[in-house]
Amino acid sequence: MNKLTTKTTKRLKNLTLAAILIVPFFLYYAAINDMNILVDVLLGVMGSAMLLAIKVG
């Protein structure tokens, strides 16, 4: 059980890092093309990634 939890935490940590590094480029694309709704959605995704970082970081 502990092994499974550790493995899941590691995966979530990797996923969080990838999200925080990749989502900003989509944010840039949306902002530069004035896609305001997409900017809001992606900021929400960014916030979720940060919440995940607080959980597993």
């Binding site: 969080t16 989502v23 840039y28 949306a30 919440l51």
Partner: protein, 520 residues
């Protein structure tokens, strides 16, 4: 100061306060605390500094570019370290060094100062303490001393160690060049080198042993500080810490032959690891020097490798409160000519060399990759979250407001505080790099407002950040775990805290003198 200004200043400081409280008071890691700081920065920027979604979007894109620029070096430095360490080469280098002298003070200087600085030069991120502490314990030193000595001794080389990742971060966030920053950074760090060496001997044997070691400290410190300075100002700052410690090792050989340090005090020997010899072990770093020198000094090679750059153009954007962020390119990353790329080439060359000599067992490649990822992810998460909130603060004018407040509050005494701010950043984040990211812009803007040398203030910032490594709980915990002091970190932290605060005060006074003398 007006009450509205004080309220806005407190709001601007709130993300940093949250990170400090969570890391110091609640023992949160950098990744978690940085993410909490990000939420605080978003809320404060929306309600008090006129931020809007588009501005946040651009700030996060700039932050991602900046993070990649720093992480490129960190990941490749870790890859090279594990590529080398899997052969037993790091232990072989330690064994080779141990043969130089039987004098306890010289051994401490060699391991706790020079070899720890060498490890900081090639890896960093707690590796010097983790590797040197058990070696010193094996030589018969008290476990508290075994951890405290490398923790204090390696600090001076943190900024230009790890292939200059902390210096790179400072340049990236402040937008200032290596030509402008290297001179004073290398000079003040050089001064801190003597102080770190003296403190690391004092923690072992008090004033008597410290006096006995003074000539050695002066000779080796001058060689290391001078080499680091020469490399930094000649554009090879990525090799600053590494080259300095190599020169220091040569100086150690000479100093160990001085009659004063030739005694026959017997000490247990560290055993040689497998078939790896000192010559083959050091060969890996010879390759690194060759590749980095070629990439930095040979103009056609430099031009060819620097041809492809990754960057994004950002238009001018204004907050609802009128703060204007000018248009311009974000961080430019040379994909093939970056310091990280040069480290990557070195890792491949070293791996092929050692594999051809049969130094690796089957499946080692997989182990190297796994260990690199294991050590890289937690560090990276801390850096990325810290950079993300630091960029929000900078883009909304929060950092500028902080700088304005500090400048008004401390006035003429501000230069004394610069190294303390750097120390605080490293203590709270466990990293000189993070400290420079969080406080670099603040220090630059404060220096500009106070009309004093930005180069000297940023040098004090990064020196304080480097010294913070000796009191960063995250690093002390790593060291203690290697000598059986798990859960007993307090005596080590008490020892390093005392020396850390004294050295930072001395650097503060030195900075104040430099500024008042009109230099910079």
């Amino acid at each position: 100061m007006e009450p509205v200004f004080i309220l806005k200043w407190l709001m601007a400081f709130s993300p940093i306060a949250v990170v400090l409280i969570l890391m110091i008071g609640f023992n949160w890691g950098g990744g978690k605390a940085g993410a909490a700081g990000w939420f605080t920065a978003v809320i404060a920027s929306f309600f008090f500094f006129g931020a809007h979604p588009k501005l946040l979007a651009f700030s996060q894109a700039k932050g991602a570019l900046l993070s990649i620029n720093v992480l490129y070096i960190i990941w490749m430095a870790l890859l090279l370290y594990h590529t080398v360490n899997e052969t037993g080469a790091i232990t072989a280098i330690g064994t080779g060094i141990e043969r130089f002298s039987q004098d306890k003070a010289i051994q401490l200087l060699i391991f706790g100062w020079v070899f720890a600085s060498f490890l900081q030069g090639v890896a960093g991120y707690g590796v010097p303490i983790a590797v040197v502490a058990p070696l010193l314990a094996a030589l018969g030193f008290n476990p508290v001393v075994a951890v405290a000595v490398p923790a204090i001794g390696h600090c001076w080389s943190v900024t230009f160690g790890s292939m200059g990742a902390s210096f790179q971060a400072m340049m990236a966030v402040t937008g200032l060049s290596a030509d402008y920053l290297a001179h004073w950074s290398a000079a003040i760090l050089g001064v801190s080198g003597y102080l770190c060496a003296f403190a690391s001997i004092h923690v072992y044997g008090g004033w008597k042993v410290a006096r006995h070691s003074l000539p050695a400290i002066l000779i080796i410190g001058t060689v290391m500080g001078g080499t680091q300075y020469a490399l930094a100002v000649s554009g090879m700052w990525t090799l600053g810490g590494f080259g300095a410690s190599l020169a220091g090792m040569i100086a150690c050989v000479a100093v160990a032959r001085v009659p004063l340090y030739r005694n026959n005090e017997s000490t247990p020997k560290v055993t040689q690891n497998g078939r790896m010899t000192f010559g083959w072990a050091i060969c890996a770093y010879g390759i690194l020097i060759l590749i980095v020198s070629a990439g930095v000094l040979i103009a056609p090679v430099k031009a060819m490798l620097g041809h492809i750059k990754l960057s994004l153009y950002f238009p001018e954007i204004t907050t609802a409160t009128g703060w204007v962020v000018p248009a311009g390119f974000g961080q430019k990353i040379k994909i093939f000519g970056h310091g990280g790329a040069l480290l990557g080439y070195s890792s491949i060359a070293v791996f092929l060399l050692y594999a051809s000599r049969g130094f690796y067992e089957k499946g080692t490649f997989r182990t190297i990759v796994q260990k690199t990822i294991q050590s890289g992810v937690p560090t990276s998460l801390g850096i990325v979250t810290m950079v993300s909130f630091a960029l929000i603060m900078a883009e909304c004018g929060m950092t500028y407001l902080l700088a304005e407040g500090v400048s008004k509050l401390f006035g003429a005494a501000y230069p004394f505080m610069a190294s303390w701010i750097g120390l605080l950043g490293a203590f709270m984040t466990g990293s000189n790099t993070n400290s420079n990211v969080v406080f670099g812009v603040l220090q630059r803007q404060t220096a500009e407002l106070a009309e004093i040398s930005t180069a000297i203030i940023l040098a004090a910032q990064t020196t304080g950040g480097a010294l913070g490594s000796m009191i960063a709980p995250a690093k002390i915990i790593v060291g203690c775990s290697t000598v059986g002091l798990n859960g007993k970190e307090a005596p080590v932290l008490r020892a390093t805290m005392k020396y850390g605060l004294i050295i930072t005060s001395l650097i503060g006074v030195f900075t104040l003198l430099l500024v008042f003398s009109g230099l910079g």
